[in-house]
């Protein structure tokens, strides 16, 4: 049985980040020559994946049943 955790609210963050286009539509600061616009969104792939991982961990029931 799966219990939804309040941590799921964290999922609103990637939505907010993506919708707020003016916050990342710029060149500086560049990273390794890549403009902010591009590396910032690539970074959010990792952040969003980590958030899913955190929620998964929190909702996983403990015990031997967790392995499968």
């Amino acid at each position: 049985m799966q219990r939804a955790s309040w941590l799921r609210l964290l999922f609103l963050l990637p939505f907010a980040a993506v919708i707020w286009v003016p916050s990342y539509n710029r060149i500086e600061p560049t990273l390794g020559g890549i403009p902010f616009f591009f590396w910032y969104q690539l970074l959010w792939i990792l952040i969003a994946a980590a958030l899913v991982g955190v929620v998964y961990r929190a909702e996983q029931p403990p015990g031997p049943g967790a392995r499968r």
């Binding site: 990637p14 539509n25 390794g32 890549i34 403009p35 616009f37 591009f38 959010w44 969003a48």
Partner: protein, 511 residues
């Protein structure tokens, strides 16, 4: 003709052909049952599902079209990245519930679920037909990806001889899908993804080295392509366009029948949740792949005489093949092109299986032949998968490519109209089935109308609120309209003619 590349390409193709037939023996089940043939017996664990969904969602057309959009239109083409950022929270929250209820009741398609949840066969039919219609052009577009790399290998385009490689590839696809069902693309997806990862990693390392680093690459890209255009006064311009394209596409993605098939074939709801955390590895790859479009610009492949013919035939879609041809030795070009071509076969196979499942379960069995046996059902699905593929092949050979692209664009607008029934239906039974059906109709008509005003050339439609123009993805606007109609009408119908007693699912079926 590039013989070294062709030999490697054909060799890899033969290898996956063998694999496709061997797959029938893998995790053996009775292929005379629809859920064994069409869902691989719901037996795929975390690892296989990762490859299967990765191969399913990140298609050959993506590999060609996303960098091509960057090459042609610039930063706007990068919307594929925010799109793939937000699909995974959606996958995590919504679709394990679908898996659970489908597992408990033996549902193979979204329309099966609708039929059980709402007890309304017409709403089921609407969802089924939407899935069929949205998927057909999508299969055809996979062939576009394959066509481009076959052309880039040096085969002359046009005529029966020019189409021969494509037809052979499709016959192979049809044969192993028929015999092995979903097991074939699942097994081939592993090979395809390994090849794709090798190609992308090699390109992302080799090309910047060749060109002198990312800074040089971006310096060679026109400034107008490096960022979204800043909106003028009185409009949200490209900002709202970019954000709504990402969000609308994300909500639509897992409603497509082939995504659904990938989800339902996994062995538990937990497998899906885990994959929501590890599938983003593909998004990262897609992001770098998109940047290949800029690398092609920086390299100046568009003005090289040896590629003039390719660009004339395939337009910006030729930018990535040209980049690969220019940067890599022939044998590696063979590997990379094989990755793209096999990358077309995997989703095409899953799509044809998914549409065959829908036709069989939700049209043939529901309306035409309710008394059929399980064996007959699986048999019809196998035949249907062949018909679907022949249809897609005719589509691409006899109709201008533009139609496939326009229909796929419409497909995105149409498929999202099933969101209120399917996605919200997993959480609440507030909605009345007739209200949902009317909402669906309003969404389809309004979305199609918005696309029509754009001459079916784009999907970003401008609405005006309080004197501000808000250009946005027509799919998102039309589904909001759809939802509003369904919600308001449900409030009325729930009082006068509630259909909640027709729900055969229980609350605990979703956990």
């Amino acid at each position: 003709m590039n013989w070294t590349a062709i030999v490697v390409f054909v060799g890899l193709f033969l290898f996956i052909t063998v694999l496709g037939f061997v797959a029938a023996q893998w995790r053996r089940g009775d292929l005379g049952l629809l859920h064994e043939w069409g869902l691989g017996g719901r037996r795929f664990g975390t690892f296989v599902t990762w490859f299967l969904l990765g191969g399913d969602l990140y298609t050959a057309y993506t590999f060609i079209a996303v960098p091509a959009l960057m090459y042609g239109a610039g930063a706007l083409g990068f919307f594929a990245v925010p799109y793939t950022i937000i699909i995974y929270p959606i996958l995590y929250v919504v679709y394990p519930r679908l898996w659970s209820v489908a597992h408990r009741h033996g549902y193979v398609t979204a329309a099966d679920f609708i039929r059980g949840r709402y007890g309304n066969r017409w709403l089921g039919l609407a969802v089924a037909v939407t899935g069929l219609v949205a998927t057909m052009p999508y299969i055809a577009l996979q062939l576009v990806g394959m066509e481009v790399v076959i052309g880039a290998l040096g085969f002359p385009g046009g005529g029966w001889f020019g189409d021969a490689p494509l037809i052979i590839a499709f016959l192979i696809l049809a044969a192993f899908t028929y015999t092995s069902g979903l097991r074939a693309p699942a097994m081939i997806a592993v090979v395809k993804d390994v090849l794709i990862y090798i190609t992308v990693i090699a390109a992302v390392i080799a090309v910047p080295m060749h060109l002198g680093g990312f800074a040089r690459i971006f310096a060679a890209v026109p400034p107008a392509k490096q960022l979204l255009a800043v909106p003028g006064p009185g409009t949200l311009g490209s900002y709202s366009g970019y954000a709504t394209l990402a969000i609308g596409s994300a909500f639509a993605l897992f409603l497509y029948p082939h995504s659904m098939t990938g989800i339902l074939s996994s062995s538990s709801a937990r497998v899906i949740r885990r994959n929501a955390a590890i599938l983003p590895a593909y998004s990262l790859m897609l992001g770098f792949l998109a940047l290949l479009g800029f690398m092609a610009l920086a390299l100046g492949v568009g003005s090289m005489p040896e590629f003039a013919d390719g660009f004339k035939r395939y337009g910006p879609n030729f930018s990535v093949p040209a980049l690969l041809l220019e940067t890599f030795p022939s044998w590696f070009v063979g590997v990379a092109f094989a990755a793209i071509a096999i990358g077309a076969l995997v989703p095409a196979a899953i799509m044809s299986i998914a549409t065959a499942n829908i036709f069989t379960r939700n049209i043939w069995r529901e309306f035409l032949h309710p008394a059929c046996t399980d064996d007959e059902e699986a048999g019809v699905a196998k035949i249907a998968s062949l018909v679907v593929k022949v249809g897609a092949l005719f589509f691409i050979i006899f109709l201008p490519q533009q139609y496939a692209i326009q229909l796929q664009l419409l497909g995105g607008i149409w498929i999202i109209q099933t969101a209120p029934s399917v996605m919200l239906g997993l959480f609440t039974r507030y909605f009345n089935s007739w209200a949902l059906l009317l909402g669906w109709m309003v969404g389809i008509v309004s979305g199609t109308w918005m696309a029509a005003t754009l001459d079916f050339k784009g999907a970003v439609y401008a609405i005006h609120l309080f004197g501000v123009a808000i250009p946005g993805y027509a799919a998102l606007y039309s589904v909001i309209l759809n939802l509003a109609v369904a919600a308001v009408l449900s409030a009325v119908l729930n009082v006068v003619a509630s259909d909640r007693h027709k729900d055969v699912t229980l609350a605990e079926d979703y956990a």
